[in-house]
């Protein structure tokens, strides 16, 4: 067996984390992307910048602030305490919350682009065909933006799989709880178990390549005419 039980556990945890984060971000990111794509508000710029922050912010900085917020004296920490939920740092839940922030732009930006390229016209047409705005959103905007949803989901999933810094800051390194694949590799290297590190790294490399290959091969061809 190439992979140890610890490796398999880490991979399973990573997949679980990435799936949950992708699902949450589909629900959370879609309305944000929709708003950003359609608003004429002066808040579009600032909100867009905030969403994009994790793209440029060092993960440790994001992790540090999230840790403070989730800690016993942070706002989120006090909230979880008041609600009787266990403190988020060093839990799987904490990891999910942190990853949602960290991967937010990878969901929002492709979706925003997709919604923007759908444009106003199909929604106007839908309205003249008696569709309410919500109806038009689900029956016209979402199907027309379907390639964007696929791209955004793949990117979000892959990016969550690949995160390391934020996980280390928020989740630490607890087997089966917060020790995801990237952290497991780090552990292997720390322990000079290079062959183990090789196997897991190889899997990550192949996975990442396949994801990008899928994105580039399936990229929808530009639409013809109006």
């Amino acid at each position: 067996m190439l992979l140890s039980d610890g490796d398999l556990q880490a991979i399973w945890l990573t997949v679980r984390l990435a799936s949950i984060v992708t699902l949450i971000l589909l629900l959370m990111g879609t309305p944000i992307a929709w708003w950003l794509a359609r608003t004429k508000s002066r808040w579009k710029g600032p909100i867009g910048a905030v969403v994009a922050l994790p793209l440029v912010l060092p993960p440790s900085v994001l992790g540090f602030y999230l840790l403070l917020a989730m800690g016993p004296r942070g706002l989120v920490g006090q909230l979880t305490h008041a609600l009787g939920i266990e403190a988020l740092p060093f839990t799987f839940g904490g990891l999910v919350v942190a990853s949602v922030f960290y991967s937010l732009p990878f969901m929002v930006q492709p979706l925003q682009n997709a919604f923007e390229s759908v444009g106003d016209r199909p929604l106007e047409v839908a309205a003249t065909l008696r569709a309410t705005p919500i109806d038009a959103f689900f029956t016209v905007a979402v199907p027309l933006a379907a390639p964007g949803f696929l791209t955004a989901s793949i990117l979000t999933f892959a990016h969550t799989v690949g995160e390391f810094g934020v996980v280390l800051m928020i989740g630490g390194n607890i087997p089966g709880v917060t020790r995801v694949a990237s952290v497991q590799i780090y552990d292997h290297v720390e322990a000079l178990e290079y062959s183990h590190a090789h196997h897991l790294s190889g899997i990550m490399l192949v996975f990442s390549f396949l994801v990008l290959l899928a994105l580039y091969v399936w990229r929808p061809s530009p639409k013809k005419g109006a």
């Binding site: 106007e124 309205a127 003249t128 065909l129 029956t139 027309l144 639409k223 109006a226």
Partner: protein
């Protein structure tokens, strides 16, 4: 005074009453229209004249802060209410077909249809048949030609059984060939459906062919409005659709002379011969007579190459664009033609109102 108010109300009950005021940077729309609730009304004007904006206001795609709109007494917008577009019983055809690319043709047709409950005016089959798209139903929009796409878009708008059909330059994005392909379908809508159509266009030939009523717009205002032929033959404010003043006569083919390849159109007051367009006797046609092709004489002309000679009366005289030219409107029974004369000819002939005059028509064009 009370009577006038009642009359005004009755006027509002039938027909389309549209009043909109809109102030955008660099553009103002200010119109107050009373339009017939039957036939085709053309909103005619150059780009930037506000015709599309007016149409979008009527649809509810733009919300004019000050506006009133009622269709046969049903209020869609006034000071107190604004019915959102998806609740207005209208059909809208955009300049580009704007089909839903993720749906097949039949999916597009059914999109609106399954969202309405009142299917009385138009059946789905009728919409498909009227636009001749029965063989395209299973296709995806990207497998259609430009003309086919626009026909599907028109059928889609009809399939919701609208009480008002709004069309925003539906032919402007098409080349001449596709335009020719679609115009007959539009004429069929006009003839076979009892849905009032508001048709935005800057193309004179479309207006001449389709419109019953014309609203000419300029800079967000109404320049002149009225029934098509009456408005075109106005001498005080001549509206030209195309380069030249003209009259449009709605008529039928009365006789075809196969020997000389000629056809005769009959209209109230007269008949005109022109080259045979190949239509059956009884076909409804519109013909256009340009003012420059009409000359007037005090005596019946003899042995002239111009064989269309009608007796009529001088109706009105007006200025043409050039100071040396005048436009004379003549009555032939219930129909009217316009003639362009030099002012000297006008003076020499000593034409006066209601005077009998011989009208020579050099050329008649079928609108197609």
């Amino acid at each position: 005074m009370f009577g006038a108010q009642v009359q005004r109300r009755e006027l509002k009950m039938s027909g389309i009453h549209a009043r909109f005021q809109l102030d955008w940077p660099g553009f103002t729309l200010d119109v107050d229209l009373q339009l017939p609730a039957t036939g085709v009304t053309a909103l005619f004007g150059h780009s930037g004249s506000g015709k599309t904006t007016l149409l979008r206001c009527m649809a509810g795609l733009e919300r004019a802060p000050k506006g009133c709109l009622s269709i046969n007494g049903d209020v869609w917008q006034d000071e107190n209410q604004w019915i959102p577009i998806h609740k207005r019983p209208l059909g809208y055809v955009f300049q580009e077909a704007s089909l839903f690319d993720h749906l097949s043709v039949i999916g597009n047709l059914q999109y609106g249809r399954k969202r309405v409950t009142d299917h009385q005016k138009v059946s789905l089959e009728q919409a498909i048949e009227l636009l001749g798209i029965g063989h395209l139903l299973d296709r995806k929009p990207d497998r259609l030609s430009g003309g086919e796409r626009q026909r599907v878009a028109i059928a889609r708008a009809l399939a919701v059984s609208p009480r008002l059909l709004l069309m925003d330059e539906p032919l402007a994005a098409l080349d001449l060939k596709r335009k020719r392909e679609i115009l007959p379908y539009l004429e069929r809508l006009h003839r076979e459906l009892e849905i009032p159509i508001i048709y935005v266009s800057h193309a004179p030939d479309e207006v001449a062919r389709l419109a019953d009523y014309i609203v000419a717009m300029e800079d967000g205002r109404v320049l002149v409005q009225g029934p098509l032929s009456e408005t075109l033959t106005r001498t005080d404010l001549p509206i030209k659709i195309g380069e030249d003043a003209c009259a449009i006569i709605e008529t039928t083919i009365g006789e075809v002379d196969a020997n000389w390849h000629l056809a005769r159109v009959d209209f109230p007051g007269g008949r005109l011969w022109f080259r045979d367009p190949g239509l059956a006797v009884g076909s409804r046609v519109r013909v256009r007579v340009l003012a420059r092709d009409v000359s007037l004489a005090r005596q019946p002309p003899e042995q002239s190459s111009i064989q269309n000679v009608l007796l009529g009366q001088v109706d009105a005289v007006g200025e043409d664009e050039h100071p040396g030219l005048a436009i004379v409107r003549v009555r032939i029974g219930a129909s009217k033609l316009v003639a362009r004369l030099t002012k000297r000819a006008l003076a020499d002939l000593k034409l006066e109102s209601d005077q009998d005059v011989w009208i020579q028509v050099k050329s008649v064009a079928l609108m197609e």
